[in-house]
Symmetry: C2
Subunit: 265 residues, 2 copies
């Protein structure tokens, strides 16, 4: 089981103020590890909808990993920890390691002249409240700890990462080794190649792609430009496997077969 | 009822190959019309998951509008019309107006030297199959017609637009007047202002924002930079209303109150 759900929380994503690049970053990283991102959900900062979607995802037991971004900061609408606690039906509590992280980070920022005070105000303290049973994740860039919860009943690891892209990316590199472990244990491999084909017209290329897909079960995405741009189409051929060497082997064979079909057209 | 669901379909979005800018474009346009985007779903080119999500959305009757992007092209994995037909439990059939659009578009492209033949191959014909009861939408850039379906049982307009951003954007401008009609009929207004506040530290700003939110029920998003960047925080204050003038009025009052709070800190 290697399926992933990504949830991006934040009204600014639903009002079109912010492009959801966080989910794209995570999707690429996880795909390259052989994991399969099955769904990306973008949700507003609203308790009812987030709790309902999270609850559904856990009930279905479809996901080995859920990664949530956004909503960990000190303001009123940063409620991810609280949404998660409600979903898991556990209380929120100050985590001793969490408050250490927050305190230590503000002391560092204060020493470096980046904040005006090192005092742990109630807005700062808020970030150390985690669902009982969760563990904080160190934030090397910002101040809000991330959240890790191992949800045993659905065999699902839940991670909450910050919404600020730089913070999210640095924190991801801290948790990445856990995904390497899954990859190794389940022998997950992902391989892909890009190629440019001598077609500007997707409708004439389509029958060849369908033949290759049928024969090798690879995933092929054609990325057409508009006809007006008239550029040759780029293809991505990829395959995920849990057998040693199969992914690369399959993609190379599929590519060779496609080139053959195109040459003999 | 002015809630919108956006669904972006395409494996390339889930493997991190492509950033989902289409959903952001639509979210911004619709928000500015006073509509409320409640959820953005990014799904793979997979029948089971798309049909299941669409079915759920229609059953719940939460949405006045569902906009789907991607999966209208001539290749095997372009199956949005078929997913929609299965969801609605109607057959796919060649639509006379749809095949006219496809034929006419290839004739134009051929005359302009942008495609090699005007012949309607089966891959091209595929794009004119619509769920029975749907109407095609003209595609001024590409060749695949969009799809419009008025789903009366859930009072929901369903639109399928192409995944190529230029095609999607041009087609959106064709359907946009329908949304203006909803806006007018329901007196929807949306107003927002951006402002920069003299804070680099979100945790010290948070208590002021909470006061303003509580008093005016506005949505305020703070867009913090990392502490290392040390830039002042930008805020977006916005309000949606169905009462004449209320949206702008509320935002301006909230902004004035916030400035007052900050000055007297």
């Amino acid at each position: 089981m290697n399926q992933v759900l990504i949830i991006a929380i934040g009204n600014e994503l639903l009002s079109g103020k912010t492009v959801n690049t966080n989910s794209t970053f995570l999707a690429e990283k996880l795909t390259n590890l052989g994991l399969t991102v099955k769904k990306i959900l973008t949700l507003p900062d609203e308790r009812e909808i987030v709790v309902s979607e999270l609850t559904n995802a856990l009930i279905k037991k479809n996901y080995r990993i859920i990664i949530i971004t956004g909503g960990l900061g000190p303001t009123w609408d940063d409620s991810t920890a609280s949404f998660l606690a409600e979903t898991l039906n556990v209380p929120l509590k100050i985590h001793p390691e969490g408050i250490n992280i927050v305190t230590q980070r503000y002391q560092e920022l204060y020493r470096n002249g980046l904040v005006d005070t090192e005092k742990i105000t109630s807005a700062r303290k808020k970030m150390a409240y985690l669902p009982v049973g969760a563990k904080p994740i160190y934030n090397p860039v910002g101040t809000a700890p991330g959240i890790y919860f191992d949800h045993k009943p659905s065999n699902c690891w839940i991670f909450c990462l910050p919404g600020v892209p730089k913070e999210m990316q640095e924190m991801f590199s801290i948790i990445e080794p856990q995904f390497h472990d899954i990859q190794k244990k389940e022998h997950l491999e992902f391989y892909e190649e890009n190629l440019i084909v001598p077609f500007t017209d997707e409708s004439l290329l389509a029958p060849f792609l369908d033949q290759v897909r049928e024969k090798f079960n690879v995933w092929i995405k054609s990325l057409p430009k508009t006809y007006q741009e008239g550029e040759n189409i780029m293809l991505i051929i990829s395959f995920s496997s849990d057998k040693n060497g199969e992914a690369k082997n399959t993609v190379l064979k599929a590519k060779e077969y496609l080139n053959l079909l195109i040459k003999s057209k």
